[in-house]
């Protein structure tokens, strides 16, 4: 018994440190997952290009604080603004014409995959971002504190603080502003919302802008935490965040955050206590298990699926 207590006491700081590692990863996934879930909630489209918007955001942010000489908070804002415009452009050029023609939802989905591949390979061209891996020079030094054996770094604090701030801001926009009200109305019933005089296309554009801005912020934070960027960096985080959104119940905002935190912890805990070879296998198995029990996801509303 004494031995057991001793080993728990010795293992506890490491466990807490791993929880922090998982939080850092999960919070970044959460920002990306929100974009997936908001767009799905409104137009029932899985925007597969979302992971690539994350990548573009990372590049804009890193260019901001290295080549353009911006202070890093300004670089995050520039990346968010740039990607908001980029997201709206994608919606305007690739998705709205399909909606206007009443194309089936599968056509929009395939368009999204095409847009994703286009962004990846176009930005790999030499005169855009180039195909190579770039090392990110952090705009500030590494600081590390140890509290009772638990190590925490300034990057982890920064990621957690910025994400919490953005989540609060999103909460405010969705529940306290007019456009937020319009978004919720469109998500509830598009036709009824249109009949009530809501400009549905404008609401959709706003949704893309907000989702893309959040993905851009995630991109810059990701580049700061894991300091390397390249044009295909959005694929895996995008896939994981999409999984997180489905896990939490796609279309549901708190669900996306919950799902992302679970994904982050699952990955880190698997790498920490089982083997890093299984991290993705276990994270995705978790998704399958949850969907078997709750097909609509953890916080999703159960109802007839209209695919």
């Amino acid at each position: 018994m004494g031995y057991l207590l001793e080993s728990i006491r010795n293992g506890l700081p490491l466990l807490l440190e791993q929880v922090l590692n998982g939080l850092q990863l999960g919070f970044v996934y959460a920002l990306i997952a929100l974009g997936y879930t908001m767009v799905y909630g409104i137009i029932k489209l899985i925007n597969f290009a979302h992971g690539d918007i994350f990548m573009v955001g990372a590049f804009l942010g890193v260019f901001g604080f290295t080549y353009w000489g911006l202070p890093w908070p300004a670089a995050i804002l520039v990346a968010m603004a740039g990607c908001a415009v980029f997201g709206v452009m994608i919606e305007r050029i690739a998705y709205r014409p399909l909606r206007a023609k009443g194309a089936p939802r599968i056509a929009a989905l395939i368009t999204a995959i095409g847009v994703s591949l286009f962004i990846e390979y176009f930005s790999s061209l030499k005169f855009v971002f180039g195909p190579n891996f770039r090392v990110v020079e952090r705009p500030f030094g590494d600081v590390r504190w140890t509290l009772g054996g638990v190590g925490i770094s300034n990057i982890q604090l920064l990621v957690i603080a910025v994400v919490l701030g953005l989540l609060l801001a999103l909460q405010y926009v969705v529940y306290r502003t007019k456009i937020g009200k319009a978004m919720r109305a469109v998500a509830f019933d598009v036709d009824a919302a249109r009949l009530m005089g809501i400009d549905v296309d404008k609401v959709i554009a706003y949704t893309f802008a907000i989702g893309s801005a959040l993905a851009a912020a995630a991109g810059v934070l990701y580049a700061l935490a894991y300091p390397q960027i390249h044009p295909f960096m959005g694929i895996m985080p995008g896939l994981k965040a999409f999984t997180a959104a489905v896990l939490g119940g796609i279309g549901n905002i708190p669900g996306a955050v919950l799902g992302a935190l679970i994904m982050g912890q699952a990955e880190v805990m698997t790498a920490a206590y089982i083997s890093s070879e299984f991290r993705d296998a276990i994270a995705f198995s978790l998704l399958i298990l949850v969907l078997l029990v709750r097909p609509a996801g953890l916080l999703g509303k159960a109802g007839p699926e209209k695919v």
């Binding site: 490491l14 190579n132 590494d142 894991y226 300091p227 390249h230 920490a272 083997s275 890093s276």
Partner: protein
């Protein structure tokens, strides 16, 4: 069916090669030509390796006046993006469409292994500068691929040298090893390092695999930090090593970092990796006349100090040219026999003779990473 097609292709090539040496010309006008293909990653995650390889290859051909013996050299350069599938397509195309007699490249083992298989199957001489995994020249059953050679030493030797240096010179007693489980090169170095480090009385306190797509190493690095090793062995390429090194320092890991020839790049994160050591094929600071002449010529042509990739591609190309010179033919079978029989061929990376598996027998260099973006020559270790 596939086997039949392959046999037909081999036969076709054999006839072609025989024709080349018999009638004294494969091109129009009776000119004697040997065609060489270079496969290298000119873009992608290890593009500096590909660029250096291309430079070394072109310098060697230029110095030879694009001739070897009575034959003039025609060459083709192709980009494989460090992708095994792409490399396989390119190799097949070079062999069947451009009808090359010999292939040089590629850089990494995972890409070179499939190339070596297709070259050996089609009886085309293949020499790689830098692919260090044993499976490049030997097949799954342990049989030699007779047409395949390399200009570098192999993974077991690099892992062994690193373990010996860590134990004897650095005095390390414990080590953590992080490797890419999907990369033959990384796995080979990691396993051989562990075997020799433990045999020499050291202890591997953390043994962690990751995948190529991983960017978050926080979980395994927290474990490594907890185990407090003396040495962190990172046998991977420069971009992944830089990423892991940075996250390791952020986790408060102060262990000496060590790796293999994959670190040898101008795009390594020198500020983070400064003080770390890696095993390599050659050092530009070596005073042997072959090395100094090569460094001077390379600098005159390209304006930079050649890395090991450039030196090995240069050596590989020269070994091939020497084989063509000695056999004075374009017949791949005779060229490969001439290469196999080379004794003490004077190359930049050492005096080269080949063992029965097509691997050169020569020494390794240990280099230390400096914060000013250079490397310092520490020691030379013999097999």
């Amino acid at each position: 069916m596939r086997r039949g097609m392959a046999a037909a292709l081999v036969l076709g090539l054999g006839v072609l090669a025989g024709c080349g040496s018999g009638s004294g010309g494969s091109g129009a006008g009776g000119e004697k030509v040997v065609r060489i293909g270079l496969i290298a990653p000119l873009t992608g995650d290890v593009k500096t390796f590909g660029e250096s390889t291309k430079n070394g290859f072109e310098l060697a051909l230029e110095q030879a006046g694009h001739k070897a013996g009575d034959f003039s050299i025609e060459y083709f350069i192709q980009d494989d993006r460090n992708d095994p599938t792409e490399a396989l397509n390119i190799a097949t195309k070079l062999i069947t469409e451009q009808k090359v007699h010999a292939l040089v490249g590629s850089v990494s083992s995972k890409v070179t292994i499939p190339v070596s298989n297709v070259a050996n199957e089609h009886r085309v001489v293949h020499i790689t500068g830098t692919a260090t995994n044993p499976a490049v020249t030997v097949d799954d059953k342990g049989n030699r691929k007779p047409f395949v050679f390399r200009a570098c030493f192999i993974d077991p030797f690099q892992g062994q040298v690193a373990a010996k240096f860590a134990l004897e010179t650095l005095g390390a007693r414990t080590a953590a090893v992080l490797y890419d489980k999907g990369n033959d090169y990384s796995v080979g170095l990691a396993e051989n390092f562990r075997r020799h480090f433990e045999a020499g009385g050291g202890q591997v306190v953390a043994w962690e695999a990751y995948a190529l797509a991983d960017t978050d190493f926080s979980a395994i690095l927290s474990k490594v930090a907890d185990a407090k090793p003396d040495l962190l062995y990172l046998p991977d390429y420069y971009q992944k090593v830089s990423l892991i090194g940075k996250q390791a320092r952020a986790k408060g890991i102060t262990a000496t970092m060590m790796g293999g020839d994959g670190w040898d790049s101008a795009e390594l994160d020198f500020a983070t990796m400064a003080g770390g050591y890696f095993t390599n094929h050659y050092s530009p600071e070596d005073t042997r006349p072959e090395v100094q002449k090569f460094v001077a010529d390379y600098q005159a042509k390209y304006g930079t100090v050649p890395d090991a990739l450039a030196a090995l591609a240069y050596d590989a190309t020269n070994i091939l040219l020497e084989g063509i010179r000695r056999s004075n033919t374009s017949d791949p079978d005779q060229i490969r026999q001439a290469i196999q029989n080379l004794k003490g061929f004077s190359a930049v990376s050492g005096q080269i003779s080949f063992d029965e598996n097509g691997n050169p027998v020569k020494s390794a260099a240990i280099l230390q990473v400096q914060a000013d973006k250079t490397t310092r020559f520490i020691a030379s270790v013999n097999p």
